[in-house]
């Protein structure tokens, strides 16, 4: 090997030292995992969803394990954006990695306000707009499942900030490409996908739903094929950087996402199996580049779409 291997990747204007982030809601505000490993090694941290007002979240139980998956109904418990800015952000700025703030609103206006408030704060790499929230004013319909409402949220956030806007798509839709196109047209710089799949679990002994909130969001390895499919589809149709997530637990999963079209990836539920998995994935990607004499990870983005470049069956004989 002569040239240095590079894991550097660019999500639009945002340069990441490597393509491995941690997913919103699974890493808190980095306080806890900071005690387990040097967070500066990560490509970036997507902090837990922040709302305009503090939120208590959903009644417990909030978690149930499913086959190779996890259903959660945290309900966006968070201290609100003002507390976040005062108590969490100063520390986050000094972590030595890119900070992406995940924002959630329950009306269009809330998204706009959040964007404006955070726009004034230095040290943020991007806003990640979680559009999987119910629009309280419109009967609780989720913003992210219709192109119009998804675009409306994006437009307001875009107007409210000069920060890069990453819109995080909900997978609970008929046509992910339609939504992706709508939010890109409305000004998104990049897309994150996927958020969780809507699911439930029943306790047959108690004869009732396990989660206090009945419905939860499914994440983890179980959803990986669906996440990859959506990345694949959006990559083919919408020219915008993608941050892929959904069931990544090792570097081969990360490569699947990158080759399907992701510019960067995030580990969420994978942290719960092995808190050090993001670091191991970074190492694994490095090893893969070295083994295959690829100089940069960016060469692999979308590689699986290119049938001519696919590596033929093991050439034994």
């Amino acid at each position: 090997m002569t040239a240095a291997l590079s894991l550097e990747t660019k999500v639009g204007r945002v340069t990441l030292k490597n393509p491995v982030l941690v997913a919103s809601g699974t890493f808190g505000f980095a306080r806890e995992y900071e005690k387990l490993f040097p967070v500066s090694a990560l490509g970036g941290v997507m902090v837990t969803g922040v709302t305009l007002e503090p939120r208590a979240g959903n009644p417990p139980p909030r978690l149930v394990e499913t086959p190779a998956g996890l259903l959660n109904s945290i309900g966006l418990q968070n201290p609100g954006v003002h507390w976040f800015i005062k108590e969490e952000l100063p520390r986050l700025r000094d972590l030595g990695t890119e900070i992406i703030v995940n924002i959630s609103g329950f009306s269009l206006e809330e998204y706009g306000r959040l964007a404006e408030i955070l726009d004034r704060e230095p040290g943020l790499a991007a806003l990640e707009v979680n559009i999987s929230c119910p629009n309280v004013k419109k009967g609780g319909m989720t913003f992210g499942v219709h192109p119009e409402s998804a675009a409306a949220v994006t437009r307001l956030v875009r107007q409210g900030t000069s920060l890069p806007v990453w819109v995080k798509l909900s997978p609970n839709v008929t046509d992910i490409v339609e939504i992706a196109q709508a939010v890109v047209d409305a000004g998104a710089d990049a897309l994150s996908l996927i958020n969780t799949l809507s699911g439930i679990a029943i306790d047959p002994d108690k004869r009732r739903p396990v989660l206090g909130n009945v419905f939860g969001g499914l994440s983890g390895p179980a959803v990986k094929p669906v996440a990859l499919r959506m990345i694949w589809q959006v990559y083919q149709e919408v020219p915008v950087p993608l941050v892929g997530m959904g069931g990544i637990t090792n570097y081969r999963d990360a490569l699947e996402f990158i080759m399907a079209g992701a510019t960067a990836v995030a580990v969420g539920t994978g942290l719960f199996l092995d808190p050090l998995s993001p670091l191991k994935i970074i190492e694994g990607l490095q090893g893969f580049l070295a083994k295959h004499q690829e100089e940069t990870i960016t060469n692999l983005i979308g590689a699986a779409h290119n049938r001519e470049e696919s590596i033929d069956e093991e050439k034994r004989e």
Binding site: T26, L36, G57, P60, A68, G69, I74, G220, L273
Partner: protein, 292 residues
């Protein structure tokens, strides 16, 4: 708190009729840091398998910083614990720990009531062992399972343990489904604790619940209590003790994902709102916990 690869030193079923197991692990770092009432998360899956997905929280029953060992008692209730029960000496386990805020120091209290239900026992024993700590001779029962020694009777020195200075007195109400599940009574006795067993089937001690067993001793002259066990038991204990105005602590359980306070998945309701069982607890001041 850190990930640690722990070697299985011994794993033994606790008796004929139970699905309880006693696990002794070499985990020097965790052993060094653990306090009473803390727990570890254990990966209960083959290396590359993804189901069951999450680590399992298990209380530390005993910790031996000098020997670099911890002990766990667990019940086989599902897939993860079934997997765990099949490990053998020499196998390795992925652990994360020690985790959580354990019991407060009992320094200020003299007469202490303990309520243990089933696998709630280990957490309370870690507390008592810490509070009565003497020379390390006690830890010689590592890997040895002794059960049911005169389980039918209340045992221990009536005036409480003597190793702990003249003043400290522990009274344990220990409930289980059946006599065979009352395990390690000898250790409790050696620690000088007065043990009142209770069994659901009446096969040993009081025929009924631990709160039933405790009722006739109350209000008594107790300063403080600690309880660990199933939710319905904790609720009853909390009510009963509130009635008598005795303060205490409850050790809770809740399904967990991260185990370290990051995911907000394991919350319980308290007078201060939702609190994380894994990091704000698992031990909470009894009067703060709200059972819905």
């Amino acid at each position: 708190m850190q990930p640690e690869t722990a070697g299985v030193i011994s794993l033994s079923p606790l008796g004929r009729a139970t699905d309880l197991y006693h696990l002794v692990l070499a985990a020097p770092q965790i052993a060094k840091e653990t306090g009473p009432g803390q727990f570890v998360m254990v990966r209960c899956t083959d290396e590359q398998a993804l189901d069951p997905l999450l680590l399992r929280p298990l209380n530390v029953f005993r910790f031996h910083p000098a020997e670099g060992r911890i002990e766990i008692i667990f019940r086989v209730v599902g897939r993860g614990t079934a997997w765990l029960a099949e490990r053998r000496p020499g196998d390795y386990l992925s652990l994360l720990g020690p985790l959580g805020r354990g019991f407060s120091s009992l320094e200020k209290y003299r007469r202490i009531l303990l309520f243990a239900g089933g696998t709630g026992m280990p957490a309370l024993f870690s507390l008592v062992e810490q509070e009565t700590k003497t020379d390390s001779s006690l830890s010689s029962s590592v890997g040895k399972s002794i059960m049911g020694s005169s389980a039918g009777e209340s045992t221990g020195s009536p005036m409480g343990n003597t190793m702990d200075g003249p003043n400290r007195e522990f009274t344990l109400f220990y409930g289980a489904r059946t006599k065979d599940e009352l395990v390690f009574l000898d250790l409790w006795q050696a620690a000088g604790v007065t043990v009142h067993p209770a069994t659901d089937d009446g096969s040993a001690g009081f025929h009924g619940t631990v709160t039933g067993a405790a009722a006739r001793f109350l209000p008594g002259e107790f300063d403080f209590y600690c309880a660990c066990g199933p939710r319905p038991m904790l609720r009853t204990v909390q009510e009963m003790m509130a009635k008598y105005g005795i303060p205490g602590e409850l050790c809770l359980e809740e399904a967990m994902a991260c185990g370290i306070g990051a995911c907000l998945g394991c919350v319980c309701e308290t007078v201060h709102g939702y609190r994380r069982v894994c990091s704000d607890g698992p031990v909470f001041p009894a009067e703060e916990v709200k059972f819905s």
